[in-house]
Symmetry: C2
Subunit: 363 residues, 2 copies
C-alpha cells in the first residue's frame, strides 16, 4: 500500500494551499485560469484520485430531486418498482449526507412539467440542487422544464425514456430488444414452427413497444422460424380491443400463442382469457409483474411474464447519478438493463417486495 497522493501533496508540490487545489480540481469558481491548469496537470501527472469518503465529511449535503410518476394511475405497478429501487439504493447512501427531494407527478398532460417547474421555482432558485433523476421528457413543456435544470449544470439522469435534447449525463432503461427476442425464443420452444402467433404490439409511437416487436422478428428471422405472426395495434382503442381479440381467436386458422409487449394489454388479455374460459388453450407471455399478471401466471392463464427491470432501473439510475456526483464517475450515455423471464417458480421474487434487495447486469 504505497502512499496515495492527496491534495496536501499536490499543494506542497506546487506551493499552493489545499483550498486552491480543491477549488481547481472540483471545478469551483475562484481560481486563476493558469493555476487551475497547473493543478490539473499535476493531478494527472501524480495520478491523484479524489478520496470520495473524505470529501463527504465536511461538505454541505447534496440535494437531489427525484421525480417519477406517482402511483395514482395505470403505470402504478411499474413505477412502484422504480420508486422502490430508488429507495433501496438510497439506503446504501446513509452517511453520505444526501438530501432527496421526492416530487412525484400524476400522468395527466403536463404533470411532469408542472411539478418540475414548481420545484425549480421553490428550491432550485433559492437553495440550489445538485442532481435530478426523472423520466426523459416526452413533451415540450417537460423538456423545457428539464432544460432549465441542465442549464444550471445540475447533473441529470433519465430513466426509461431518453431525450437527447437535454444535457443529461445518462439514460437508464430496459433492453427492450432482448425482451422481444426472449418472447420469441420462449414461444418458439413451445409451439410448432409453423404455428400462428398473436403479437399484441402496443403503440406504434412508443419506442419501448417497437423495440420489442423488432426484437421478436429479429429472433424468428435469424432462426428461420416460419411463424405466422399476427400483429395487433389497438393500444389506444380500448373499446375495439376485445372485439379484435375475439375476431382473431375465432379465425379458422387457430393461433397457438400470444405475446404482449405492455402491461395494460397483458391485463386485458388475462381478463379476456378468463372471461371466455380459454385457460390453457394458448401459450401466453405477458409483460410486467403486477397484481393481475402475477395472478394470471400463478393460475396458469399465462405461461410466463417478462419483467422489464423496473426495480433495477430505479436502483441503478440512483446509483449512476450518485457515483457521478460523489465519485466523479462518468457513465455510458445509455445504460441498458436486461429483462428477466419470470416463471411460476420464481414469481415470488418479483412479487414479494420484502426481499427485493437487488440489482442487475448493466450494459
Amino acid at each position: 500500500m504505497s502512499h496515495r497522493v492527496t491534495m496536501k501533496d499536490l499543494a506542497q508540490q506546487l506551493g499552493l494551499s489545499t483550498g486552491t487545489i480543491h477549488r481547481a480540481l472540483s471545478g469551483k469558481p475562484g481560481v486563476g485560469k493558469d493555476v487551475r491548469k497547473k493543478v490539473l496537470e499535476a493531478a494527472e501527472q501524480e495520478g491523484y484520485q479524489l478520496n470520495s469518503i473524505a470529501s463527504v465529511l465536511k461538505r454541505k449535503p447534496l440535494r437531489i430531486v427525484v421525480s417519477f410518476p406517482d402511483l395514482s394511475q395505470a403505470t402504478r405497478y411499474y413505477y412502484s418498482d422504480i420508486w422502490e429501487g430508488y429507495r433501496n439504493y438510497r439506503k446504501e447512501l446513509t452517511d453520505y449526507q444526501i438530501e432527496f427531494i421526492e416530487a412525484p407527478y400524476g400522468i395527466r398532460e403536463n404533470q411532469q412539467s408542472d411539478v418540475l417547474r414548481d420545484v425549480y421555482q421553490n428550491i432550485v432558485k433559492s437553495k440550489g440542487i445538485d442532481g435530478l433523476l426523472t423520466v426523459g421528457p416526452m413533451d415540450d413543456p417537460s423538456r423545457k422544464a428539464v432544460q432549465a435544470y441542465c442549464a444550471e449544470e445540475i447533473a441529470t439522469v433519465f430513466v426509461n425514456e431518453d431525450n437527447e435534447h437535454c444535457n443529461r449525463i445518462c439514460c437508464v432503461r430496459a433492453n427492450y430488444k432482448i425482451a422481444g427476442r426472449l418472447m420469441a425464443e420462449q414461444i418458439s420452444n413451445q409451439v410448432p414452427p409453423d404455428g400462428r402467433v398473436l403479437l399484441i404490439a402496443g403503440d406504434r409511437n412508443i419506442s419501448a413497444h417497437n423495440l420489442q416487436v423488432e426484437g421478436f422478428f429479429e429472433y424468428i428471422t435469424q432462426h428461420n422460424i416460419p411463424f405466422d405472426v399476427v400483429r395487433m395495434y389497438k393500444y389506444d382503442q380500448v373499446e375495439e380491443e376485445e372485439t379484435e381479440l375475439c375476431n382473431i381467436i375465432a379465425q379458422a386458422q387457430a393461433i397457438s400463442a400470444i405475446c404482449c409487449v405492455n402491461a395494460r394489454e397483458s391485463a386485458l388479455v388475462a381478463k379476456f382469457i378468463k372471461k371466455h374460459h380459454l385457460q390453457g388453450k394458448y401459450r401466453i407471455i405477458g409483460s410486467d409483474v403486477f397484481d393481475e399478471s402475477a395472478k394470471a401466471l400463478a393460475d396458469g392463464t399465462f405461461t410466463n411474464l417478462i419483467y422489464k427491470s423496473a426495480y433495477q432501473i430505479g436502483y441503478y439510475g440512483t446509483k449512476i447519478l450518485m457515483d457521478y456526483l460523489i465519485k466523479d464517475q462518468q457513465p455510458e450515455p445509455v445504460c441498458l438493463l436486461d429483462c428477466d423471464m419470470v416463471f411460476k417458480s420464481n414469481l415470488y421474487l418479483y412479487n414479494d417486495n420484502l426481499y427485493r434487495n437487488t440489482v442487475r447486469k448493466l450494459r
Copy 2:
C-alpha cells in the same frame, strides 16, 4: 434534517471523553464494565448510529482474506465468476481503506486447509486480520483451519457451502431448490405431461444436487404433472456415464427431455449429443454457463441453461462481509440468491465478462 447524534454528544451527556465512548461502542478492550453499559444504554436511548463514513478516515486499513478455489480445475468456470463478483464489489470499496489478501487454493484434498493454515501462520498471527471470505469447509482439516479464524473473532462469510460448526456470520449460496423447480417448469412447458424425462441428478452426497432434484419433484408433484422421471446418479463414475446415457436413450420408451443439475455432466451431455448427432431430438436444460455449455446453447444442442448466480455470490458475499464490518449490519444467517434461466437471447449477458457489472435478488 435534525441533528444526528454523534459520539461527541454522548460524551458530553455522560461526562466522558469521545475516546471512551468509542471504545465502549466498538467493543474494544480498555473500558470499565459499567461505563460500557452506561454508554450502550445512552446510545440506544438517543438512537445513536455510527457514521460509517467518518469511521473510515482515521482507522487503520481492514484486512480481509479471500480464499476460493483457483482456476486450475473442473470448477474453474464457476469460480472465475465468483472471483469476478468479488473483484467488482471490491471496486465499490475504493477509499474505504481495505486490504484484500487473496489466497486461492487448488481443489486437491486438503488444499483449502493448507492455504488457510498458511495464511493464519503468516498473517493472522503477526498482523491480525478482520474478515474471512471462503467456501464453507467440507472436510475436517479445513473446518479446523476456519475455526482457528473464528476463535480470533474474525468475521467470516461462507459462499456456496455452509458449515454451521464454524462461527460464521452468514452463508451466501444459490437457491438450488428454485433452480430445480425452474427446470421442471420449463420442461413441462415443452414436453407432453406424460413424457419421459432424464434427470441427471449428480451426486447423492452433494446437497446442491439434492436440493435441485427435490425442487424438480416438488414442482411436478404440486402441478400434478405425471412425468416419468428417470434419475441418473453417475457423478463419480465417469467411465460408466456414457454407457448409461446410451442405454437410457436406446430404451424403447423414448425420453423427451434431459435436465442436468451440474456443470460437469452438462458438458458430458453436450459432447454425447453432438457425438451421436442427436441435436434437436431432446429438450435439454444444462447447468452453469461456461465454454462448452454456452456453445451448446448457442448451437441449439441445449434449450436453456440454469445460471447459478456465481457472479452474484461473489459480489454479495463480499458486500455482506463488508457491510458487517463497516456498517455493523448483521446479515441473515443464510442468504439465498435466485438462479436465472438463460436463453440464447440473453446468453451474451453471462458470457461476456466485460459487462458483468451486477447483482441479484437476495433472500
